[in-house]
């Protein structure tokens, strides 16, 4: 593969997936950390393109990589602390594409007030991944994903109601 072809392949993957990868990290940790982790994810994409290890399913490959980076980040940053507790911190919604109005802000709050694990699951689900794929990323069974998703959706719905959002 020539340098021009590599650049073009990378540009395609970046244009298609960067926004979702950033949103995933932003939901988990806030904008500042999201920028760093999204950058690291796409540096790995570049290396994969560079070495011609081009996977069949880029989308799943990139998100598997992103979930692994998230786990590494939690292990390094909060070594000794309970990782889950550390990830529970409220996320920032700065530097995102949409300037939130009142209703939009309520919907965002309904998501950010969920436990980190629920936020992560719902975000991956919203990107269209199946329970099997999410299970593979998180190294849990598909049935466990389905059970947790159901609970997370229920909690999200309760939060929406608390925020006064009762209609689409």
């Amino acid at each position: 593969m020539s340098t021009g072809e590599k650049d073009a392949a990378f540009d395609r993957v970046y244009a298609e997936l960067f926004r979702d990868v950033f949103a995933y990290f932003n939901v988990c940790f806030g904008a500042e950390t999201a920028e760093d982790l999204a950058q690291e994810t796409f540096l790995r994409v570049w290396k994969a393109v560079d070495s011609s290890r081009i996977p069949d399913n880029w989308r799943a490959w990139v998100f598997r990589c992103a979930v692994n980076l998230k786990n590494d980040f939690l292990r390094q940053k909060y070594a000794g602390e309970k990782a889950q507790t550390a990830a529970e911190q409220m996320v920032s919604v700065q530097d995102t594409a949409i300037a939130p109005d009142g209703a939009q802000l309520s919907i965002q709050r309904a998501l950010t007030r969920l436990p980190a694990a629920d936020r992560e699951l719902l975000t991956l689900k919203s990107f269209g991944f199946t329970s099997e794929e999410i299970g593979e990323f998180l190294k849990i069974s598909a049935s466990a994903v389905r059970t947790r998703l159901q609970k997370a959706k229920q909690s999200f719905k309760i939060n929406l109601e608390k925020e006064g959002v009762t209609d689409v």
Partner: protein, 68 residues
């Protein structure tokens, strides 16, 4: 009853980056990858240089054994 699926899509969409972030990270990746590319050193090894390398490594190994 209302279906929260659409609202979930909306909520997650709000966490997407601005165009400025999209471009900034891309630039940083480009700089980083160019740096990596320029640090690649091509070493041409012919028979003579192979002999030199072998003798250097022999001396290095002996030295390390003495230290150990």
């Amino acid at each position: 009853m209302f279906e929260p699926e659409n609202l979930l899509q909306q909520a997650v969409a709000a966490f997407q980056p601005s165009n400025a972030v999209f471009a900034r990270v891309k630039n940083r990746i480009c700089k980083e990858t160019k740096k990596t590319q320029s640090s690649v050193v091509l070493v041409y090894v012919n028979q003579n240089s192979q002999k030199i390398f072998k003798s250097v490594f022999k001396k290095y190994n002996k030295l390390m054994q003495k230290i150990a």
